[in-house]
Amino acid sequence: MNDKPRVPGVLFILTLVFIVLTVSFSRRKWMEPEPLKAIALVDPDLVQPTTMRTSYVQLVRMQADLSDFDCYACHEKNKPPTLRFDASNNLVIPKEHLDIVMAHGQHNRNNNCFNCHDEQNLVLLQTRDGRQVKFEDSPRLCGSCHGPTYRDWEGGAHGRTGGYWKKEAGETKRQICVDCHNPHSPKIPPRTPLPPPHPLRQADQARMFQEFRQPEGVAQTSSLPYRGFPIRRCDQAVTTGRLEVGDAAGWKPALRSLGSPLAAAAAER
């Protein structure tokens, strides 16, 4: 069994294989990993710690133009406005205030503006037992009915806190009720969520999008910023999503009549 003659053959083949490998390895394109597809960025505006709406109190603090909020520009002093109700006892919103949607409580429980507003002095609010409350102190009005939530808010368990937790290091910013809740429609409106997480591998990303049919490369899911912004009439914040109110038909024309492009866009949703 003289295998000696086979050795040169084997060594020759081996040399060839090594040379082929050397050449393949040296090529830059050999098995180069493909670059990752860039994942769409989220608009930084969507992650600002601004409040959901800009309340009247914030407008005052910002020294914005408050001419729209001057009640006595239209109303007469010492003449309480009259409320009108329709046949089914629903409050009829006057055309000057059509941007307000009364949805504070289900089944029309809060069907009277003057449950909160002081009809004798429109620049003030009042509790049910007649005590007057300034607009800046509106949490006390809210708390006069919503006790547990008010206590939680005082303790810090409800509502937003920003700024510094360490009092010595800086100011702690607490928001008041109306910074988030529209007092006429206090339920927090639904919003479009930011994009779901992307798995590491392209194949898994493709599968995720295929299964759930979400368009790829969606940077942000709403064209409006999430915060409320001051509009020219009253304090109805324009947010994304639909308001869950009984009769939503009324507020769309009102929004369109405001003349602001964003309000018009919201009306189209």
Binding site: T22, V47, P148, T149, G155, A157, W165, P193, P197, G241
Partner: protein, 317 residues
């Protein structure tokens, strides 16, 4: 065969086993083998972040003297400037005395908007591609805390959806952390203010901590993290949001560049519905102390594992 030069005293005819041919054959195989060996290492040409001698020999965080730490911080600032063209301010913030952080999250309020996820990403210079997010928001059906029913990828037209509630999960900064227990090199440990931190320059990337974490809170840098230049947060801390290198672990650290300076973490500040609460539990006037005192129902995730998390999920009763 090892090619060898014939011995000076070698005479023709002796040692007939090795001929010139076999010598050449052997050396051809050997040489081509060596060439293939060298060529096989050619992908290393693409290596652009090989550590410098300084980085290689950098000591463990707890053993760095203040002078050495200052040098390390400067080195990181130089690196960031080189890479992004912007010079950050990297600090080494130490935990304060008399402070122990606790996090509380109101499950009645969370609407699942994921703003916390992305605010965290922006604040902590997390990689956008590949994507790293410390916070994962789970959508659970009413009535069940069984995480196997959780949906991670929900993306409806609007949230909250009827029949579901939302539970964001991030590092729970456990009092008895399994990740700290299993790390073979002490690259992760819990500091006195309760934050479990990682020394990114010490981690060897074995991912044992990722396997050990019951909350899937830890993330690994499978590739070099990429942050867009215009989104870089220049307020950095060494154990916090300074840019991480490839091949190391990272996770939520309660935004220690903010919290150790007295501010709220980014997720707390951005939450639009105020579901997130943070503070010093040792301060009886803090929000978290109020919550743990007054709320009747709050839960710690997977409490039965004995991890004792600092994260309390509460409800509005």
């Amino acid at each position: 065969m090892i090619p060898q030069k014939p011995h000076p005293n070698w005479k023709a005819g002796q040692n007939a086993g090795m001929t010139r041919r076999s010598f050449l054959r052997g050396s051809a195989v050997f040489a081509s083998g060596l060439a293939a060996l060298a060529a096989s290492l050619s992908p290393l040409r693409e290596l652009d972040d090989f550590p410098s001698v300084e980085q290689f020999a950098q000591k463990y965080y707890k053993e760095l003297t203040p002078a050495e730490m200052a040098k390390v911080l400067k080195r990181i600032e130089d690196e960031v400037e080189r890479q992004y063209g912007l010079r950050p301010h990297v600090k080494d913030l130490k935990p304060a005395d008399g402070v122990e952080f606790v996090y509380a999250l109101n499950l009645t309020r969370c609407v699942g908007c994921r703003k916390c996820v992305h605010a965290c990403v922006a604040e902590n210079n997390q990689s956008r591609t590949p994507e790293i997010q410390y916070i994962r928001v789970l959508r659970l059906p009413h009535g069940s805390l069984d995480l196997e029913k959780a949906e991670h990828d929900y993306h409806p037209e609007s949230v909250p959806e009827k029949g579901y509630f939302y539970m964001p999960v991030q590092c729970q900064q456990c009092k008895n952390p399994p990740c700290v227990k299993v790390c073979p090199v002490h690259a992760t440990w819990q500091e006195t203010d309760g934050i479990t931190v990682i020394d990114y320059d010490w981690c060897i990337g074995c991912r044992y901590c990722e396997a050990a974490c019951p909350y899937w809170a830890r993330r690994f840098n499978f590739a070099k993290p990429s942050v867009p230049k215009d989104r870089l947060n220049l307020n950095m801390a060494y154990l916090g949001n300074r840019p991480r290198p490839r091949g190391v672990m990272e996770k939520c650290h309660f935004c220690l560049q903010r919290t150790r300076a007295g501010r709220y973490p980014a997720c707390v500040e951005v939450c639009p519905v105020g579901a997130r609460k943070f503070g010093n539990i040792l301060d009886p006037n803090s929000e978290v102390a109020y919550i743990l005192r007054t709320k009747r129902v709050f839960i710690q995730l997977k409490e039965e594992l004995g991890t004792s998390p600092r994260f309390f999920y509460y409800f509005d009763v």
